[in-house]
Amino acid sequence: MNGISFTLNGREVTYTGSAADRLLDVLRRDYGCTSVKCGCKEGECGACAVLVDGVLLNSCCVAMGAVDGAAIVTMEGYCKTERFAVLDRAFADLSAVQCGFCIPGMVLAAEALLAKNPHPTEAEIREGLSGNLCRCTGYNAIVNAVENAAKEGNGLW
């Protein structure tokens, strides 16, 4: 039986476990991607969000069999990009990171949003981040940071 092959942050890997296993568990356990956080395992908080072929998915709600042939990006890979650097500065400037647990998923949600819509309105940002719960910030700082990143990163997205 063949394994499940995919690229993880640009690296080709093959998973030989069950196709029914959760992507979230596999990323954390087998590939050490602990930036992918488990907040609920029900698709209701966004802490485990990753990019699969550029699309934002909650990795708790993805079975391994569904990522055969896909390109997966987690914060471990994304944090090395130029786009991340722009978001990083914007979040830092507004002290938008508090406990940090929602942040990897939140930042990937911001990336997914900006990739689709490089100049979103505030309402579009709020909608784009609406699947990622944050209990610390009240969201203002995060939303403003994404807005600033969109301005600063002109051309990157």
């Binding site: 998915l57 709600c61 949600a109 909608e127």
Partner: protein, 272 residues
Amino acid sequence: MVNGFAPATLQEALAIRAAQDVTPYAGGTDLMVENRRGVSYLFLSKIPELRQITVDDTCVRIGAAVTFTEALADERVPQIMRDALAGIAAPAIRNAGTFGGNLGNGSAKADSVLVEFALDAKLRLVSLSGERIVPVEQFYLGRKKLDLHSDELIAEILLPKTGWENYYYEKVGGRNALAISRVAFAGVLRMENDRIVDLSAAFGAVADTVLRLKDAEGMLIGKTVAEAKAAKEAFLSRYEQDLTLTRGRVSAEYRKAVCLRLLQAFLEKFGI
């Protein structure tokens, strides 16, 4: 792969479906919450036939594995459906969730299914031995019970190309995003020569399946707006009397009050 099949064509998928005890897997957003152990999944997302939206003379045909995000971006999909899709959960869920999955999960809270009821959508079900076209209403046999044979897959959802333009859609959830419907309403009115020729009023998340009271709907059919206005009180009280809600986390009293008011808002929108 272990505990899973990832066929590349529909034929291949149907062969596996017929021969094995597999659970069809489209987006995973419902299945993975359950996360049953020892289950074997039939992954449908790589099958081109299930991933496309096409339009023929009368229908917009949406493949069962088309995601909500994809349909939301496709202007050929009726606006009433896109309104409903826009209100589903949040981007990451819409990126995964599919039309077939929303149907296959069998929940009366499925927002895309509500619109399918309101539009009298049809489903194309396929198996190795052929295909069936089933009206969505007949597909739902009861709470989580579907008219889907163990060798069948949902292939397409057939929505009418026109006739839905006069609609009212509203979802009432517990918050502005990431919310499961507490009540959802989809109403469609079709007028010809100043008369109502068709009316549908569908209620989601209130009973075991999406609810439509066909008899009550008929009360306004054939009437002008003025005549419908005169019949409005009787129409509304018919719903008040006949709309039977199941118990849920959110009280039936609340949901019923909302149903009746949304029905009224639907009529008001069209001057009734």
